[in-house]
């Protein structure tokens, strides 16, 4: 067993030093009725070759996104990740370290998290950001709870253009608290009126930009309306690359920004792990969830970093903590941060322009097909289409032609028949002109 260094002789010597007769003897506090004398009914240990073969067989039964023309988004985006990112995050000093509780031997983790916090604050247009949460969906729930603490109000309003998983996670997570969550109907046409729904009881409104159906919105008036009645505006961003081209939530008056960071530096991984980004205004700092890294000096007066403001956190404050979170998404944050460092100002804005240009090209190609209607007028790299057929059936037919042609909205909203023909389509820098043409041709066939 390659992971176990103790030899039989070691074990005997150690048992003798302890004064125990056997390993079983060390488990003598376990009630006899609960002890098991033999291994459970599962396969015995296996070498690398056997395990690799088993996983290769599993992997072969999946259609890898990179092996076909691919157009899925809906909160998980496929971008090209530079080789440097994966090489660096696999350095053992990053990969195999714990949460940086001992700052003298964790300055590497602490410094990259400080840089990550700065990058997140810059791209969202906010003042401060934390060191990550699990994903954007759970970050939405945390934002709602934080808004309730800040405003001492109990009503949370969720836009119909917010990702359906963010909506359901926020609603489920808060169901046993005294916070009331109201989720508006899904809004593919951009018709909902949030302005008229904010009142003096509202803790926050949570909206998404670009919206789940792709639409870009100016949230300035909504922010003003929220602030006029003492509510907070929470803006979710599912595609962080959009922030390279689109006015950030901070510039529109957002009080809290939550975002999914997966799209930068991280593979799709079938949806997990994700990377929850969380940014806010400095005045709300002490109500923030999650870890924070702060700058300080060491005993010799040199600049260094530590985990700070931990009196907000569960290991100090226990049931009065701002959140129960402990483990976060540190390594995903590192991947995000390295990717963004490689991109820099020029690369990040260029990547965003490229994504938008590809999406505009694709939208024009698809909207020319008979019976296909482009729903949002403005969008970043993803848009909803209204098809003349059931979108789930179309996607299955496209998959049979080895094209992964978007996400049918019915997957999230099976009980809304009016959404059955709505399809979400995404293009990124990885989408080639040939992919688009193959998609358009196949879609034309499937719709005939």
């Amino acid at each position: 067993m390659r992971y176990l260094p103790l030899t039989g002789a070691d074990r005997q010597a150690m048992l003798a030093a302890i004064g125990a007769s056997s390993a079983d003897d060390l488990f003598r506090d376990v009630p006899v009725a609960a002890r098991r004398d033999a291994p459970v009914d599962l396969p015995f240990h296996a070498g690398e070759m056997e395990v690799e073969a088993r996983f290769a067989a599993l992997a072969a039964r999946n259609m890898a996104a990179g092996s076909v023309p691919f157009f899925l988004g809906a909160g998980a985006y496929r971008h090209h990740v530079p080789a440097t990112v994966d090489a660096l995050i696999q350095r053992g000093e990053f990969l195999t370290s714990y949460t940086p509780y001992q700052p003298e031997v964790s300055q590497g983790t602490l410094q990259y998290l400080f840089e990550f916090q700065t990058q997140v604050a810059l791209i969202t247009g906010m003042e401060v950001a934390n060191a990550s949460l699990y994903d954007a969906a759970t970050a939405c729930a945390e934002a709602a709870a934080m808004a309730a603490r800040v405003t001492r109000r109990k009503k949370v309003l969720l836009s119909g253009d917010l990702h359906p998983h963010y909506r359901s996670v926020a609603a489920s997570t808060l169901q046993f608290t005294d916070i009331a969550v109201e989720a508006l109907d899904p809004d593919p046409l951009g018709l909902e009126d949030l302005l008229g729904r904010v009142d003096s009881q509202t803790a926050c409104v949570i909206v998404q930009n670009p919206g789940f159906f792709g639409r870009l919105k100016d949230l300035t008036a909504l922010a003003e309306e929220c602030h006029a009645v003492g509510a907070l505006l929470v803006v979710a961003v599912a595609e962080p690359v959009s922030l390279g081209l689109v006015a950030p939530p901070g510039a529109m008056g957002a009080d809290i920004v939550v975002a999914e960071g997966q799209a930068l530096g991280n593979a799709l991984n079938f949806g997990g792990p994700g990377l929850g980004l969380f940014a806010t205004r400095e005045k709300y700092l002490r109500q923030m969830p999650g870890r924070l890294v702060g700058q300080t000096v060491d005993a010799d007066g040199r600049r260094g970093w530590v985990l700070t403001l931990s009196t907000r956190e569960q290991h100090i404050r226990r049931e009065k903590a701002t959140s129960n979170i402990c483990t976060n998404s540190g390594l995903c944050a590192l991947a995000f941060s390295i990717h963004l460092s490689l991109l820099g100002e020029e690369g990040f804005t260029g990547l965003a322009r490229l994504n938008h240009a590809r999406a505009v090209t694709l939208a024009d190609k698809l909207a020319r097909l008979p019976g296909v209607k482009l729903l949002p007028q403005s969008f970043f790299n993803e848009f909803a289409l209204l098809l003349p057929k059931d979108a789930a059936q179309v996607v299955d037919a496209l998959a049979a032609k080895h094209i992964l042609g978007g996400v049918p909205v019915s997957r999230f909203y099976p009980s809304y028949p009016e959404l059955a023909e709505v399809l979400l389509v995404t293009a990124t820098e990885t989408t080639s002109e040939a992919d688009m043409d193959a998609f358009a041709a196949a879609l034309r066939e499937v719709l005939q």
Partner: protein
């Protein structure tokens, strides 16, 4: 020592922030030019620069390489951080998690195109259910605390389904901070239970606190003192007798995998930290995964999604209406920490039923070896045998002028990551050591010799050297008070 001119110290290189290395115009990627289009941004284009630094690829590689060299990990040192299970992270798991057929798949692909991924989730679930003997599992919790939250939600829903109102959760004083925080997030009140002089739950005190408003007991077993709760069957019977549920915090499950089935202890629900027990890397803070096993009574309330298998193949249940149950909803985006499942399953298959059992035995053996060898020089808090971790308190430092913190910092200079300090809270100045099964006897012997030497130095009036420690690290002790009093949480451009 004469300071160096550069500020560097040999292999320790001072490294500025990326923002301080900005070279406008430099870029670490080569992207094709965007084709000319009329934008569809609806007038919402970003105004003005973002402020991200420009860095070429070599600059980025050197930056993060230098940062990594200011860290220690399990790869580099013995890391006996109690309660955190810093065991070896096999690279096979990393390799497999990067197979395109596992890494490059989208959560909303048609399910017919991800049958291998769904089978992998189902297989991972099968191993965890078989090892624990529990009939059901929720795979979506993202971490231990998230698993606690998941389990407590199912309890809350089950209590409500019985038409009862139970609002109190009993939590031992020795519990992880996440336990009371998770209970509060689920709308419960928290009632602490004291420990006995033997470091176990005080059964009489527990019984006295039971009542019709108690929803559950949250108990870590083996507990945070590193001890098996030897009255666990009586504890389970008592909580069940009062109509409550038994939540087991599975943070220490690594001590008993393959030797004890959780189901045989009367547990109703337990989360499993895949990033502890099943060797997936901690990554400097995450990501982890906290799949939560459930009894038949709580299973109907498990959050979505779930993977099911029929003659059509594997299928995800994503909506309550398809589930035929009463799920508490959805607590995480998509389908859980799939990338972590890949690594954990690779580990479980590598170890097998026999290896996992041996791993628990070796983890317990290593901890008992530390306890036995160090008891004469340090002050063990409780009599052994311990399980996977050995707990000491600071009585051995009495009148030495050396604190637990000082002692830990001195260990850093000796090339070891410190043990967990000041946790659990039930002993004074705790030092909690968890060696794990992936350490050799030779490593333990060197650690033991060092700890003994340090204990003698402390007792022999060497306090001054402890107060100064560490001195051989990239930074010496950091001023945490100033960091918290005047928080600087991001870089800002210097005022021009």
């Amino acid at each position: 020592m004469i300071p160096t001119l550069s500020g560097n110290q040999g292999l320790q290189i001072e490294e500025p922030l990326i923002f301080e290395q900005d070279s406008p115009g430099a870029c670490g990627v080569d992207l094709p030019d965007a084709p000319a289009i009329d934008d569809r941004l609806g007038g919402l284009a970003r105004q003005g620069p973002i402020g991200l630094p420009g860095l070429a690829e070599p600059t980025v590689v050197r930056h993060y390489t230098r940062l990594s060299q200011k860290n220690v990990g399990i790869d580099s040192v013995f890391y006996p951080l109690g309660s955190c299970t810093m065991k070896h992270n096999p690279r096979l798991n990393e390799k497999l998690a990067r197979l395109p057929g596992l890494a490059d798949i989208h959560p909303f692909q048609p399910q017919g195109t991800v049958q291998g991924a769904l089978e992998l989730m189902d297989t991972c679930a099968h191993w965890l259910k078989t090892l624990t003997g529990m009939p059901a599992i929720a795979m979506s919790p993202a971490a231990g605390a998230h698993g606690e939250f998941c389990g407590l939600m199912t309890i809350r829903a089950a209590v409500a389904a019985r038409g009862e109102t139970r609002t109190r959760i009993l939590v031992p004083e020795s519990a992880h901070g996440t336990n009371p925080a998770s209970a509060a997030a689920c709308g419960f009140t928290v009632d602490p239970i004291p420990a006995t002089a033997r470091g176990r739950v005080d059964l009489a005190a527990l019984k006295a606190k039971l009542g019709p408003d108690v929803a559950a007991l949250m108990l870590t077993n083996p507990n945070t003192c590193g001890l098996f709760e030897d009255e666990i069957l009586e504890i389970a019977e008592a909580i069940h007798g009062a109509g409550g549920y038994f939540y087991c915090d599975g943070a220490n499950y690594n001590a008993i995998v393959g030797r004890v089935r959780v189901a045989d202890l009367g547990v109703d629900v337990m989360h499993i930290n895949l990033h502890k027990t099943f060797s997936t890397p901690h990554g400097g803070g995450g990501p982890g995964a906290g799949p939560t096993v459930l009894s038949a009574a709580l299973a109907p309330f498990a959050p979505l999604p779930a993977v099911v298998h029929d003659d059509q193949g594997f299928r995800l249940i994503e909506h309550a209406a398809q589930s035929g149950a009463m799920p508490v909803g959805r607590i995480k985006g998509y389908h859980g920490q799939f990338g972590v499942f890949v690594r954990a399953l690779a580990y479980m298959m590598s170890m097998g039923a026999d290896g996992l059992r041996q791993a628990s035995s070796d983890a317990v053996l290593n901890a008992n070896y530390l306890l036995a060898e160090l008891s004469s020089d340090l002050s063990a808090s409780f009599e052994g045998p311990c399980m996977h971790e050995a707990l000491f308190d600071d009585r051995f430092l009495k009148d030495s002028g050396v604190s637990t913190l000082d002692f830990a910092k001195a260990l850093i200079d000796e090339g070891f990551h410190p043990m967990t300090m000041y946790f659990p809270l039930v002993v004074h100045g705790a030092l909690l050591m968890e060696p794990t099964e992936t350490e050799s006897k030779d490593t333990l012997d060197r650690f033991i010799a060092t700890v003994r030497g340090l204990a003698r130095r402390a007792q022999d009036g060497g306090a001054e050297s402890f107060k100064a420690a560490p001195v051989f690290t990239p930074r010496r002790r950091l001023d945490e008070t100033t960091a918290a009093r005047t928080p600087v949480l991001r870089w800002k451009p210097p005022a021009s």
